[in-house]
Symmetry: C2
């Protein structure tokens, strides 16, 4: 299995990696890994009165400063009411700034304030530290495969959004 050619089946390519057992392992790996993935930021957020939803908003505002509410909605996949509640607290607490659009004054463009950027840095440092350790342990080839499978797992629309973000919009 390690060379991808073990026990040739159906035209010379192994399909052993597609057994239900392999798939179940992948499913459980996703479940347990996602717990680790969110654990560190969650601990930081728990101290303040914030949750994972705040982290997500902060992450993507930092990622694309000046993004509109609608754009953020499509990225996060929640209702505007749900997002609005989160944004409201972030704006009230002075972590996010909402500027009325110049071209289109209906739009609100979102930016992190200095304090917002500070929290973002704390959260993403914590998350990156774990990712870096995992990457280092697994090695470059594993990382390439990791991304390849994750990308293939996304809904087409999410895949498009992911690619846009990846390629610097």
């Amino acid at each position: 299995m390690s060379d991808g050619r073990a026990a040739p089946v159906f035209g010379g390519e192994s399909l052993l990696f597609l057994t239900d057992e392999q798939l179940r392992q992948g499913i459980e790996a996703m479940f347990f890994a996602y717990r680790g993935f969110t654990a560190d930021p969650d601990r930081i957020l728990a101290d303040m009165h914030y949750g994972r939803a705040h982290h997500r908003a902060i992450h993507f505002i930092n990622r694309a400063p000046g993004t509109t509410v609608t754009n953020l909605l499509s990225i996060l996949g929640v209702t505007k009411q749900s997002l609005n509640r989160v944004l409201r607290t972030l704006i009230d607490d002075g972590l996010v700034e909402s500027r009325v659009g110049t071209r289109d004054k209906r739009e609100r463009h979102l930016y992190l304030t200095d304090r917002g950027r500070a929290l973002e840095a704390r959260l993403s440092d914590a998350q990156r530290t774990r990712m870096r350790a995992a990457y280092r342990e697994a090695g470059p080839e594993a990382v390439a495969g990791f991304k390849k499978v994750l990308e293939a797992m996304m809904d087409p629309e999410m895949r498009r959004l992911y690619a846009r973000l990846k390629d610097g919009k």
Copy 2:
């Protein structure tokens, strides 16, 4: 980067895969992929009055029939009150059976009923179908890397649980 040896740095091994940009991509890939990962079962569950928590309980009871409540608690990482609410509804609805332990009568051993197994099959078929497509698209080597990185991302305790499940307890 594709061969893992691009632009050698620090003793011949590339560390380009550890840049903040690479890490950020991995973080966003996890976010978007997890959405896809849960999307199909979520749609099935939404029709009934169940949620993701019920799916998780059903999955692991199916995975390890006869498991105790305490064991399930450690796997799921929630409080007994939270799990109990979910188990209560599953037992009341006749999807899960709770049997008093024979050796230790304090313990409750959990089993899926026929109806429970039927729902489990529907849910995991849906989830496996997406995983299978992703695996097939990415290829065996990518899948190996995928699992390697996910495993390295887990908390040590989760990693232990994952390995135990993987190796058939």
